[in-house]
Amino acid sequence: MSLALETTALSKHFGGIYAANNVFLRVESGARHALIGPNGAGKTTIINLLTGVLRPSAGRIMLKGRDITNLAPHRRVQLGVARTFQINQLFGAFTPIETIGLAVSERMGSGGDWWRVAGSKPSVDSQIVEILERFHLTDVMLESAATLPYGKQRLLEIALAIACRPQVLLLDEPAAGVPEEERHEILASVVALPKDVTVLFIEHDMDLVFSFADRISVLVNGALFAEGSPQEVSRDERVKAVYLGEDAADE
């Protein structure tokens, strides 16, 4: 099996603090790979490094064997890496139609067209509808993103990443902040992703992790602490200690 994503000795430090410390991450193609760890472990930092929002202090990042360490964020998207943010990063004034339409146009290479009216390409329109349908957003497709309820915003956030037709999808706590009743809808949309899309996701909800992931990496203080199949990780005493230790401290 080939590797969709691979990092070699990936590190990021701010002053004396290592947000990411010598991380060797290997994500297989088509995997549903979870990245877990206590708060502040550096999980979002890893995603920021993978997507190019942060530049690494050391190490390399490979996408399907291609070195993308020095590529700008938008270039990585064009190569097939898309992400969602832990806190919704939407375009508040845009409707779902405009939001998804933006991503579809960019992917099809017509995002820079300045002469024709946006929406005059039927192929774009049909793709917009297909994605909105899939994420149950057609009933709110004419409302500005800022006015949508949180659950719908979260769906839009994920739909936006999907609209980029990524080969590798990075989800940063997809169910975060979503009310209990709506979590299932979020997860269902992620489960329904095509098998050839590789998914790396951060999650705190262990039920979601164990029901969805086929591989888990545990990050503690910026370093890879443990890795393996869900069974292996759930039985690992050190992992339990790290999490239980955190729980014990909260009590």
Partner: protein, 333 residues
């Protein structure tokens, strides 16, 4: 209740996006009135020309401020370059036909815009203010120093503009000048309108609203900003060239800080982000300025400052009601 069928949805989406770009009746009314002034107000053509030029200049800044989120305190740099270019083309007979000279001046301004666009890509609002102000002041210093070429503080003298398209001579009453300015303004406005409602324009809105997310969906933020900055510079340069061609004079004040500051006032009067703000603001600004100059010829700058302070203190919320009304007449809401 079952969801509508696919083809219906696709049609709805297409209709929604198409409707965004459609001309509103208020817009037709605006341009009809503007066209009417060509015939109905012959005595006012000189000041109307000033308004048209100021409106075009403000439109160019609105492309940056209102649509792309770039704040600039030195937009006069492009205006001034276009103005001097047009003056020099005419004075030294390099390009005698005014429309060609206009386009050439716009091109020069675009080149300067392109060259300096990299400076506004990074940094905070303050950095952008600084850098844009710095560029315009450098240009002003250059114009001041090389007074052999530019006439320095006395201005560029001895400009005579050849007849438009070799047929329509510029007259004292300013009728040709006004028709010319209005035509240029209208054409450039239509082009700007196409740009705004295009996929490119949509991506600008994304860049303005959330640049982080924009790059996360594959938009090359820098490339888009450089493009719109260059276009805005070209528009400003053409406005400057129009000024020189319609007044047959050009002096250092086209590069002054006051020009850039006046422009910000125009946009705060008219509102940003819906293309007509610059035009409406220009009308209001000129009327206010003329009235103030008549009332207190020497110290009208004081009252202008007071108006500015009052507007900001009054706040966007109260101005917002008026803007929302204007906007809803013109943009989809």
């Amino acid at each position: 209740m079952s969801a509508p069928a696919y083809p219906i949805l696709i049609a709805s989406v297409a209709q929604y996006l198409g409707r965004r770009a459609r001309w509103r009746s208020a817009e037709y009314a605006f341009w009809a009135i503007a066209a009417a002034t060509l015939v109905l107000l012959p005595g006012k053509h000189l000041i109307l020309t000033e308004i048209a030029i100021l409106g075009l200049f403000a439109l160019s800044l609105d492309l940056l401020l209102g649509f792309s989120g770039i704040i600039s305190l030195g937009h006069a740099a492009f205006f001034g370059l276009g103005a001097y270019a047009a003056g020099l083309f005419a004075k030294h007979g390099l390009i005698s036909e005014p429309v060609l000279a206009l386009l050439a001046s716009g091109l020069l301004a675009a080149l300067l815009g392109f060259a300096t666009s990299f400076l506004v890509l990074r940094g905070s609002d303050l950095t952008r203010l600084m850098v844009t102000l710095g560029v315009s002041l450098i240009l002003r210093e250059l114009a001041n120093r090389f007074d052999g070429l530019t006439g320095g503080a006395d201005g560029l003298q001895g400009i005579t503009i050849a007849p438009l398209l070799a047929r329509f001579a510029f007259d004292i009453g300013g009728h040709t000048g006004y028709l010319y300015s209005m035509a240029v303004l209208f054409v450039l406005f239509v082009v700007a309108r196409r740009i705004i409602y295009s996929p490119f324009g949509l991506s600008l809105g994304a860049v303005k609203g959330n640049p982080l997310r924009a790059s996360a969906v594959g938009i090359s933020v820098n490339a888009r900003l450089v493009t719109i900055y260059t276009i805005a510079a070209a528009y400003a340069g053409i406005a400057g060239a129009l000024l020189t061609q319609t007044t047959q004079f050009c002096s250092l004040d086209v590069l002054s800080f006051e020009r850039s500051a006046d422009l910000l006032i125009v946009l705060i009067l008219g509102g940003t982000g819906y293309l007509y703000g610059g035009l409406i603001g220009a009308i209001l600004f000129k009327l206010v300025q003329d009235w103030l100059a008549a009332v207190t010829p020497q110290y009208w700058q004081f009252w202008l400052g007071l108006v500015l302070v009052a507007i900001v203190l009054m706040g966007r919320e109260r101005m917002g009601a008026w803007f929302a009304a204007a906007r809803s007449l013109i943009r989809r809401e």
